[in-house]
């Protein structure tokens, strides 16, 4: 049921992404065990929390990027009404990317690391990632250039992936000055999740909404312009919310505080437009689960990024919450709500078509969705409670780090419990996607 032969490359991207998703969450569970129990020194010496965290976060980024790339390759032919520029490049790029990711993870186990949080991949491997990224951007660009019809979604997608690739470069150099190091670290981390990735998400969401609901393209594209404009307007200067407590001029408190406080606005608009377009749909609902995911994405994106981001973004609050489990709470809700769900929307859109199924049996997938969503809400809330407790014990009662952590133990164990439930939801979802079957009617 795919419309263009070259869309098939997406299948391998999505498959690999799903496997890494499982690995990421399993590693997260291991991190929770590190928090909840005392591990023997011998084990800590050979496989430390630091190594496990590097694997947890890098597999997260890797599977999401794989999903983005696979998703782009699936969507582009439809949007451009032609085959991809080159299927060979797409496979070559996948090979380089996957090979690098596997090497990086094995390297971490042996202590080969750049030693920067979230950007642990050593520089030589970074270059390979850059090569893969260049191949990808070139392939996307050529496909769009050769298309007969131009669309806003096309170039928004291209802008998103180019911006994404360029930003990666800022995490690669060695800076002698830790202060400057972290200034540019946020160009990768913040400008990704609150800039480039949002562009990409908005473009993909717009495309899928047009495809699924049948709403008029002109209307959706207008929303797309306004939303991405607001994302970048608030998100670029909003980077300042990470510069409050480094060595920087005081004006960052104002610029960062005010602009980042406006960041929830475009996310709220996305909820509104998704809801309106679903209500005014022209097409019948064939696969209800896909529609559930689309609405879930909009709402959870708003909860994790909008609400939980806003809570700690103003300087007087952030002074107390910075560097605590509150950040962890937001990080989990936002990444899951915005980017895990976006990827799953793409997967549930693409997988049935790749398998030639129009209406699929969604029972297990529905269980998977609700298990993941419920467990993640609990995980976010529990990290939040632990964070408030930590802030209070350490920064108000002045009890010291270790005493505070000991008093948070109940919550770490609770996170472990819900983490296990979350993992079961992931396994259901991944199994369901891999074994998608026609619905019996």
């Amino acid at each position: 049921m795919i419309r263009y032969e070259s869309q098939k490359v997406a299948r391998y991207y999505l498959g690999l992404a799903l496997i890494l998703f499982c690995l990421q969450v399993a590693m997260g569970l291991w991190l929770a065990i590190n928090y909840a129990f005392t591990l023997p020194q011998g084990l800590v010496d050979v496989f430390s929390f630091a190594t496990a965290r590097a694997i947890h976060t890098n597999t997260l980024v890797a599977w999401m990027l794989l999903g983005f790339m696979g998703g782009s390759y699936f969507i582009l032919p439809i949007e451009c009404k032609r085959e991809l520029f080159s299927v060979k490049i797409a496979y070559l790029q996948l090979l380089i990317f996957a090979g690098t990711a596997v090497t990086a993870v094995i390297g971490f186990l042996f202590g080969w690391t750049q030693g920067k949080p979230l950007l642990e991949i050593p520089v030589p491997l970074d270059f390979l990632i850059v090569v893969a990224a260049l191949l990808f951007v070139a392939n996307v660009a050529m496909t769009i250039i050769l298309a007969k019809e131009r669309s806003i979604i096309q170039w928004m997608l291209l802008a998103g992936v180019t911006f994404l690739a360029v930003l990666y470069l800022f995490g690669m150099p060695f800076f002698k000055d830790l202060n400057v190091d972290y200034y540019y670290w946020w160009w990768v981390i913040h400008l990704w999740v609150e800039g480039a990735w949002e562009l990409f998400t908005a473009a993909i969401a717009a495309f899928i909404i047009i495809e699924v609901t049948g709403v008029e393209r002109k209307v959706v594209e207008k929303w797309l312009y306004v939303e991405t404009g607001l994302f970048l307007f608030t998100g670029l200067v909003g980077t300042g919310h990470h510069y409050y407590w480094i060595g920087s001029p005081d004006y960052w408190l104002w610029w960062g505080g005010i602009f980042s406080a406006l960041e929830p606005l475009p996310v709220a608009l996305m909820v509104l437009d998704t809801w309106m377009h679903i209500r005014e749909r022209k097409n019948p609902i064939v696969n209800p689960l896909l529609w559930t995911y689309i609405m879930g994405l909009a709402l959870f994106h708003f909860l994790g990024a909008g609400v939980f981001g806003f809570i700690h973004t103003l300087p007087p609050v952030n002074y107390y919450t910075h560097g605590s489990q509150i950040t962890v709470s937001h990080g989990h809700l936002a990444f899951f709500g915005a980017y895990a769900l976006l990827n799953l929307v793409v997967f549930y859109f693409a997988m049935p078509q790749l398998k030639g199924i129009e209406k699929f049996d969604d029972r297990l997938g529905v269980w998977g969705f609700w298990t993941m969503v419920t467990a993640m809400i609990f995980i976010g809330l529990i990290f939040g409670v632990a964070g408030v407790l930590q802030t209070y014990l350490e920064r108000i009662l002045d009890l010291g780090y270790r005493t505070a952590q000991m008093n948070m133990m109940f919550w770490f164990r609770a996170v472990l419990f819900f983490g296990a439930i979350f993992l079961s939801g992931v396994l259901m979802t991944v199994y369901h996607l891999f074994t998608l079957k026609k619905a019996a009617d």
Partner: protein, 238 residues
Amino acid sequence: MTGKTAKTIFWLGTLSSAIIFLWLTYDFHQQEPKFAKTDQINDQVVAGKKVWHKYNCNDCHTILGFGGYYAPDMTKAYYRLGENNIISIVMNPELVYKDSFRKMPHLGVTKEEAVNLVVFLKWVGTIENRHWPPQDEKFVKAFRLREANAQKLDKTDIIMGACGGCHSLETLGRKIAGDFNDIAKRISYDKDTLVKYIHDPQSVKPGTAMPPQNVSPETAAIISDFILSLKAGKEVQK
């Protein structure tokens, strides 16, 4: 709203924010050397930063509040712990955290690396970051006070600054390797043996778990006098 208005919103929003952001970035680079004391970044600081990266300390410890939340923040660690304690902890975490519910791995950091790390952390501590983290301000203040009155340094300050990472003195320090009041009662060393013990515990008491301490001979002498005086004090009291 027309499509054209929407497009204008996009370009206006994006470009205005990008221009402000790039301008602020330029200004950051102009002003940053003053806040981060970049003139004090020497080769040893850079070497220490490389050690920090090499062992991936940052995925367990936050610094400037960024990184893993599994272990204490390192921004003001120099003020909180002092040189000798940091070196002891980093080189022998399996001893220091023997009874702790959360372990730091034995990473195989060498003496030279540990010394460079301390220099790096000392520089990090001087970054003017609007007094964050709040809970460490008391250590920074106490350190500055001691620094300003070096000649009037309390003996307790010296001994806790050097040994408080493992030993306690009543309410001060960590209760990992015993309180100096109890140790003073127990040991039968004279001053020279104690000084020797501090620098090379194995040579005095083979098999002891205490690692060699990185303190100058003068400091070791002051500390030894102090410990031995605790012993006398206790006997007189009785």
